[in-house]
């Protein structure tokens, strides 16, 4: 099933048209997107480094995540919002860009990694919550998360790099 009709409809919306045609709007939304995802990655890194046992070892994992993850989620929500706005402005081209597709796949993987840790890896959290040395499942979750999110950022940069010829200004 081709998503092209959906992409074309998206591109035709008033918002998408405004972003695509307004010289200021795209860079502004894009910069906001960058700001949001830097906070997403930075806050996730704090948690991942704790899971890996590399940093914040003196803090309980549960305390750290309770404090940090709300920030992550707020930033992520705005990253998705700004990302959707950017995508809509040129949906068909982005939709067929290999780096965009890879970025979406990696985001999905990040979600799955998080889910696995939430459902399985953190079952016995009470046993190692305060420990400096964390179990291998926690290390794996933290390590994978870091790698996946770095991949998301790299793909994002490559989307911009491969889409440069699309813009007239």
């Amino acid at each position: 099933m081709s998503l092209d009709p959906f992409f074309q409809w998206l591109e035709s919306t008033m918002l998408a048209t405004a972003i695509r045609e307004n010289v200021l709007l795209f860079p502004l939304v894009e910069s906001a997107h960058v700001l949001m995802f830097t906070v997403v990655l930075g806050t996730i890194a704090i948690v991942d480094l704790r899971l890996l046992g590399f940093a914040s070892r003196d803090r309980r994992v549960s305390a750290l995540t309770a404090e940090i993850l709300p920030i992550t989620w707020v930033a992520f929500a705005f990253a998705v919002l700004t990302g959707a706005m950017l995508f809509s402005s040129n949906a068909t081209k982005y939709g067929h860009n290999i780096y965009f597709e890879s970025k979406m796949a990696l985001l999905g993987l990040a979600g799955i990694n998080m889910l696995i840790f939430h459902l399985v890896g953190s079952r016995d959290l009470a046993n190692w919550d305060g420990a400096a040395r964390t179990p291998w499942q926690a290390k794996a979750a933290g390590g994978c998360s870091l790698l996946i999110w770095i991949g998301v950022i790299a793909c994002g940069r490559w989307i911009g790099f491969t889409m440069m010829s699309t813009f007239n200004f």
Binding site: E30, L35, L41, E67, I71, I153, R157
Partner: protein, 166 residues
């Protein structure tokens, strides 16, 4: 672009290092990714300190403790930003140095660093100054003033692509 800058850019572009790196297509985006990752470290660290200043996070730890934890991350990330930034300049001197957005960004980097140094010094002199009763407004102002340059840096940095030097 002033003449001396033009001459400098031409020289930079002609150096063996620049000549060697220019044809490598994937080098600029790769260096940019590392640059972005280092910015993540800085922005997040400044944000955490700012949030602690206004009491939104880690109230069980002092501002001094939190700053001691996160300021070093910034100081370590800055050399990475300098190195990756320098590489980008060496590969595309005119595009970067000739851009008003880039020049604004450098001014903001200077401001951002100075503000952090002043903050660090003030905190060392009086570790609880922003945790005492009546210091909330001051703490809030410090939080905003610390964060603003770095937000500006991200916007100015992205803007280079839209107003490159020519």
């Amino acid at each position: 672009m002033p003449h001396w800058l033009s001459v400098f850019c031409a020289w930079l572009k002609s150096t063996p290092l620049s000549q060697r790196l220019q044809p490598i297509e994937w080098l600029v985006p790769l260096v940019q990714v590392i640059h972005i990752l280092a910015i993540c470290a800085v922005i997040t660290s400044v944000l955490i300190i700012a949030l602690r200043l206004v009491g939104f996070v880690s109230r069980d730890r002092s501002l001094a403790q939190m700053s001691a934890r996160f300021l070093p991350v910034i100081w370590c990330a800055l050399p990475v930003l300098l190195l990756t930034g320098s590489l980008l300049i060496i590969i595309e001197p005119v595009r970067s140095l000739g851009s008003v957005a880039f020049q604004l960004k450098m001014a903001l980097v200077a401001a951002g660093i100075i503000i952090l140094l002043v903050y660090q010094r003030a905190l060392a002199r009086d570790p609880t100054r922003w945790e005492r009763p009546g210091s909330r407004l001051g703490a809030g102002l410090v939080a905003i003033v610390s964060l603003l340059p770095w937000i500006g840096i991200i916007f100015a940095g992205r803007w280079i692509a839209y107003a490159p030097g020519q």
